[in-house]
Amino acid sequence: MPLAKRIIPCLDVTAGRVVKGVNFLELRDAGDPVEIAKRYNDQGADELTFLDITASSDDRDLILHVIEAVASQVFIPLTVGGGVRKADDVRRLLNAGADKVSINTTAVSNPEVVEQAASRFGSQAIVVAIDAKATDASNSRWEVFTHGGRRATGLDAVEWALKMQQLGAGEILLTSMDRDGTKIGFNLPLTRAVSDAVDIPVIASGGVGNLQHLVDGVKQGHADAVLAASIFHFGEYSVRQAKEAMHAAGIEVRF
């Protein structure tokens, strides 16, 4: 039997609240992180991802308190990302209760941090987050962006994912910036290109608007896990309904 494909609700956190934006902008309040985490846990979520989207370094420690509060009540794997600059930041997040730490901007500016963190804490604890945007209308090449999608890097997303695997990343969290918050579905060519290129699990992110999109992410995008925010936050679908839809499509899921 293959491993169950995972459904991962994503909680973007700023100033201690869960928010959700469209194309990385226009934030809307979605509620208290602990309450939301508990709700998803009870619905059968396989993991939870917290992204600290605070732009400045102020309030950086707030995420540690959020993680501690969530970890004391929710017993499924937690991934935390945002603002990780050095291997020591990874240690602080793991100690607060994270099981995995996601590295994004720093992976580009200081790739050795990925290598150090993977050798210190194990590849299973290190996720590299890649925010990618199509370079032209053909949607066949994608460029990596950093700083919450504000800065272009000139790096090719597929090559970058391979390099991160080589440095010890245990997983790739792949977000399509073109699709984020649009609810028109994952960028499937991007997801498939990266999933097929690397040997480590790929989490598809960005654009989920209905349950068929989750199915497509696995079946057509070849993703190992699917991440979504808005469809769960605003009560359109429960995690349970998402699993039923995937199961009905012949995908192995955990109930």
């Binding site: 039997m1 169950a4 396989d46 793991l94």
Partner: protein
Amino acid sequence: MKVLIVDYGMGNLASVARAIEVAGGRAMISLSPMDIKKASHIVLPGVGAFPDAMHALHHGGWVESLIEAFNVQCIPALGICLGMQLLADYGEEHGITPGLGIIGGRVCQMVPQAGERLPHVGWNEVIQVKQSELFARTEPSADYYFVHKYHFNAANQESILATSNYAGGFVSAIQREHVFGVQFHPEKSSKNGLQLIRNFLAMG
């Protein structure tokens, strides 16, 4: 119930401690084998490499005390993930390293089959092959959360409590008398994992 969690510097013990507290035990994260005499239960956690872990256990003075606690004092014990593997006779990760030798077997790297990836990370089914109180009131064939690339190759069939299908099949739970080992992380396996911890606390 005072549950001693062996702290030998490998991995984050906070989630194990929190799960024990929620399951009704009192968690005592300990750096000293002297604390064993205060414990009703022992949990041996661990994430990382087998040789590093054995080295750290020796360095912390744990090895003889744990062997005595398991074999002579008969304190109920639970090894989690690498902690389960350390119960074996020896590990084959980066060369041969003697383990605690509590449950016969050796720890070898998994061999992924076509289309499988290593490490084995995620939720997978645990198939009970032997009746045990450890799994009482958990859902049959429930999924538990795994993160590992080595597995426990048990010397005696009788010690195998459960298996899982990956890399050609591997042992996901073992037992010798009051000593248990689980390859998955019950502290990250939601309600079934918490039930398993409750069952462990009810022993002894």
